[in-house]
């Protein structure tokens, strides 16, 4: 049997739709034939190949004992609706096997579908009737629920399921009947393209070839519409004197327009908008959008001109009136701390100057209007006001990276300012107890810490991050967590092994990780790692803390002295080697270690000999743990011998 479920609503926020569809599919249950679709006004689930009813089943009912009074037996038989002779005998009792007919799928769906609708989890729900009435993301206005084109009867939020859908608000009929087979076509005739893929393809095919691709804007428009059609427009080229960052932000964030490239890396004085209708025959939509954009650009120009009346340098003082955080003072104070940090990190005069100007754009009209342009506007103003390129670029970049995917600041000055700014926020917030918990991270400290890690690693900076964390175990743990996250493409036990050997230098952590990852598949490595674990355990059980080197005179000839000799040789060889060959060389110690454990008893009664053997193991463990703590490696190929 075929099922069609359409939940007709008022306009659902576009960004919530894909997740809601995924939930519907999961909630419906494991069926391969389930298809989910949506537009801004409908969530649709279609399933094929459903059984007409559940399978029939049998249930055995035990009755009175075989020697029970006849009246009791007859009573039992009557209750089962059969003659006494039809009863079975089992385990000393009368009984009867009842046949239970499977319930019809339609009846089951009448119960499960409204439950499914109610179980969709939305970021924010509303009610639209009386207090206590059903909640959903937006008001539900109609429901289609058809099983083989017969209505599955139920109600959700006071709306009864039926067989009539509703079309596009202007291009379609308000009510029209649908069937499973005709559904998509009926929608199409009523101005609705059901498939998101088709809407996406339609937009892409109609966009000008030189538009600047913007995947997230495209997704927004796919789910903001039922029948998308691209319309292009123009703006006066004189607006191109405004920075392209400002123009594209206005177009992207405020108008949901695509920018268009001029072929030379700049913007063309054109834009592409996506309508939720089939065309613009009278040119009114184009004209209207052009008019709105002109007003927006005029505003931006007005702000730009007003802002130039006061330089960034002069605005630094104004930051005394801009609160950073109630307990952490104002942005002027933050600026001073960041300047100091940049100097400590080793920033030059340009970097320090950039730190001083970095937050001044928070007082500008343009940033108040377009907060997403903070930093960028500062950089543009610094340039316009004659600051050196190194300064303006550093200001421009200092919020970067804004995500895991975003690039890091382009210059060292920018990198230092970015690290100092984020570090100041991170440490300040932890000190006043604003520590992220669960999904709550209002000051975006995870992103800040992640950004610091990313910059240090990718710019290969000699910044001993750990030394700036105030020896605060909470901050260290928090940052370490971000380090692990940054390196999440490596195996977790390799990350553990490398971090256990220290993380003062993050570029070095990466180098060691790459080396460890390369050496791990070699034959000797994991067995040696197992031996290291054994060494660790022996040292731990013996409570051995002496750090003196083993005495060669106490070594027994044979496996013990061989191990020492090999160790000593490798120790000398690896001093000048890069990590990977060094690790490979360390792995060659394996046969000597194995022979030692085979032939030599550590726990002998002679305390001097015992301690010397422990000292040898300790020396090996200490020396070779400088790159990675091999005992952290989880052995899969061989059982650990202890």
């Amino acid at each position: 049997m075929n099922l069609l479920l359409e939940i007709g609503t008022e306009e659902i926020p576009d960004w919530m739709i894909p997740d809601a569809l995924a939930q519907m599919r999961t909630l419906f249950g494991p069926a391969e034939s389930v298809v989910v679709d949506a537009t801004s006004r409908r969530l649709v689930l279609r399933a094929t190949g459903l059984a007409e009813r559940q399978a029939d089943r049998e249930e055995y009912v035990a009755g009175p004992g075989l020697n029970a009074p006849p009246a009791a037996v007859e009573g039992f038989a009557r209750k089962q609706g059969v003659a006494k002779e039809a009863l079975e005998h089992r385990e000393g009792k009368y009984g009867y096997t009842r046949k239970i007919a499977g319930r019809e799928t339609r009846d089951l769906l009448a119960i499960s579908l409204p439950e499914l609708i109610g179980k969709i989890n939305w970021p924010k729900t509303m009610f639209w009737g009386a207090k206590g009435s059903a909640r959903f993301i937006r008001p539900v206005r109609w429901i289609v629920a058809l099983l083989d084109d017969k209505i599955v009867p139920f109600e959700f939020a006071g709306v009864a399921s039926g067989a009539e859908s509703s079309g596009h608000r202007r291009l379609g009929k308000a009510r029209f009947p649908v069937t499973f087979a005709s559904y998509e076509q009926a929608l199409r005739e009523n101005g609705v393209i059901l498939s998101a893929d088709e809407r996406r393809a339609k937009i892409l095919s109609e966009l000008p070839k030189d538009m600047r691709p913007d995947a997230s804007l495209l997704e927004t428009l796919v789910y903001l519409t039922e029948f998308p059609t691209v319309v292009t427009g123009e703006f006066e080229p004189s607006f191109l004197t405004l920075p392209s960052e400002v123009l594209s932000t206005v177009m992207r964030f405020h108008q949901k327009y695509f920018s268009i490239d001029d072929g030379n890396g700049g913007l063309a004085p054109r834009f592409a908008a996506v309508m939720n209708t089939s065309g613009d025959p009278a040119g009114l939509v184009q004209h209207g959008n052009e008019r709105v954009l002109r007003a927006r650009f005029n505003d931006a120009r007005f702000f730009w001109d007003t802002d130039q009346r006061r330089t960034l340098d002069a605005r630094v003082e104004d930051l005394k009136h801009v609160t950073f955080q109630a307990k952490l003072g104002n942005y002027y104070e933050k600026t001073q701390r960041v300047e100091g940090l940049v100097a400590i990190l080793g920033g030059d005069a340009h970097a320090i100057r950039a730190a001083r100007l970095s937050k001044a754009d928070l007082t500008t009209e343009l940033v108040k209007e377009f907060t997403e342009l903070q930093g960028v506007v500062g950089g543009l103003y610094a340039k316009a006001q004659g600051e050196p390129e190194a300064v303006s670029t550093a200001v421009y970049d200092h919020y970067k990276p804004v995500s895991m995917e975003d690039s890091i600041p382009r210059t060292e000055a920018g990198q230092f300012v970015a690290i100092a700014d984020k570090l100041d926020t991170l440490i300040g917030c932890f000190q006043v107890g604003l520590i992220p918990s669960g999904s709550k991270d209002p000051f975006a400290l995870r992103r800040a810490a992640q950004g610091i890690v990313k910059i240090i690693v990718e710019a290969n900076l000699n910044v001993p991050l750990r030394s700036y964390l105030r020896r605060d175990p909470k901050i260290e743990e928090f940052v370490l967590d971000r380090v692990r996250n940054y390196f999440r493409d490596f195996a977790y036990d390799e990350i553990n092994a490398v971090l256990a050997s220290g993380w003062d230098s993050l570029p070095d952590v990466r180098t060691r990780l790459i080396a460890l990852q390369a050496v791990r598949p070699t034959a000797d490595f994991e067995p040696l790692a197992a031996s290291f674990k054994r060494i660790r355990n022996i040292l731990k059980q013996a409570n051995f803390t002496d750090t003196a080197p083993p005495s060669t005179s106490l070594l027994e000839d044979g496996p013990e002295r061989d191990l020492y000799t090999d160790f000593h040789r490798i120790q000398n060889e690896i001093v000048t080697l890069p990590y990977q060959p060094a690790l490979e060389r360390i792995a060659t110690l394996r046969p000597a270690v194995d022979r030692f454990f085979d032939k030599v008893m550590v726990n002998v009664t002679d305390a001097r000999i015992r301690n010397n053997r422990l000292a040898l193991l300790n020396a090996i463990s200490t020396e070779f743990s400088k790159l990675a703590d091999f005992s952290e490696i989880v052995i899969q190929t061989q059982e650990t011998k202890v």
Partner: protein, 293 residues
């Protein structure tokens, strides 16, 4: 081409035909039509109500001395409350645009998510901004809470931005060029206000005096709210007058804010003070309505 005032007449007529009580603007300064008691208090409680009115809305920080073609210290909203919200509320709304002569088949209309929150009123709702050819012409909200109270009947609030809508209909690039009535522009009527209030709000308003006034109005509201629980005849108690004091506080807060007299930290605290008063009035209003019912 309809003049500004004809557009208002048409909206009033359209909604009057749909059972709305059409009123004149509320006479105390407000930042939005929502704050007028016809919305803020009427949405509370279980009694259905439909009303529409033009509300001049003062936003001191948005003043631009009459120089910016799109921004105003005082703009006018057509504010509509439909309580409870009818099932076809969006169709009715779209019908009002057609009544204004907008042929919807030639235009692009989108409802884009835009949730609304008024922290000073303890009010929030969910809804959309209505985009007509890329221009936001209406704010559409299903109220959920007001004065911190979950509503008995969810109203639809429809707020038309009259200047934007008129500029769109008349094809004007500046609000000041809108034809108010033939021969008279919006600028002729309002530009002087824009200049003078910008000068006052940004340059001449005396911070100390405004703070004193704020404290006085707050004190009066607090005094009245403290009296209400003890009032012998609650139905006589002047909660509407109490609410006036709250609105005065709200406008003074906005003016102080525009004057740059409120730091970000203080801001939160002052908003909380106004909100406390608004919540107090809302709770008393619900209680009083129960007494009367």
């Amino acid at each position: 081409m309809d003049s500004y005032q004809q557009i208002i007449f048409k909206l009033k007529n359209y909604w009057a035909e749909r059972g709305c009580v059409i009123q004149e603007p509320f006479d105390t300064e407000v930042g939005a039509g929502t704050m007028a008691p016809e919305t803020f208090l009427r949405v509370l409680g279980p009694t259905p109500y439909r009303t529409g009115y033009v509300q001049p809305s003062r936003r001191p920080a948005d003043g631009r001395y009459g120089e910016n073609p799109n921004r105003l210290y005082k703009h006018q909203q057509f504010q509509l409350i439909l309580k409870p919200s009818p099932d076809d509320v969006i169709d009715q709304y779209l019908g009002s645009l057609e009544a204004l002569g907008i042929n919807l088949t030639e235009h692009d209309i989108k409802l884009e998510e835009d949730n609304w929150e008024a922290p000073t009123l303890g009010a929030w709702g969910v809804g959309w901004q209505v985009m007509l050819d890329g221009l936001e012409i209406t704010q559409f909200t299903y109220f959920q809470q007001c004065g911190g109270i979950e509503l008995d009947l969810v109203p639809a609030e429809i707020t038309y931005g009259l200047e934007r809508l008129s500029a769109f209909l008349q094809g004007k690039d500046s609000v000041y060029d809108i034809e108010w009535t033939p021969g008279v522009t919006y600028g002729d009527v309002r530009k002087r206000d824009e200049l003078q209030y910008s000068v006052y709000n940004f340059e001449l308003a005396d911070r100390d005096t405004l703070w004193k006034l704020f404290d006085l109005y707050e004190g009066e509201a607090q005094r009245l709210l403290a009296l209400y629980p003890k009032a012998e005849q609650k139905e006589r108690f002047p909660l509407l007058a109490t609410y006036d004091q709250v609105l005065k506080c709200s406008n003074l807060f906005n003016t102080l804010d525009a004057r740059g007299a409120i730091s970000v930290t203080e801001r939160v605290a002052v908003i909380a003070r106004v909100r406390k008063l608004a919540v107090g009035v809302a709770e008393a209003w619900v209680d009083q309505s129960g007494v009367q019912a």
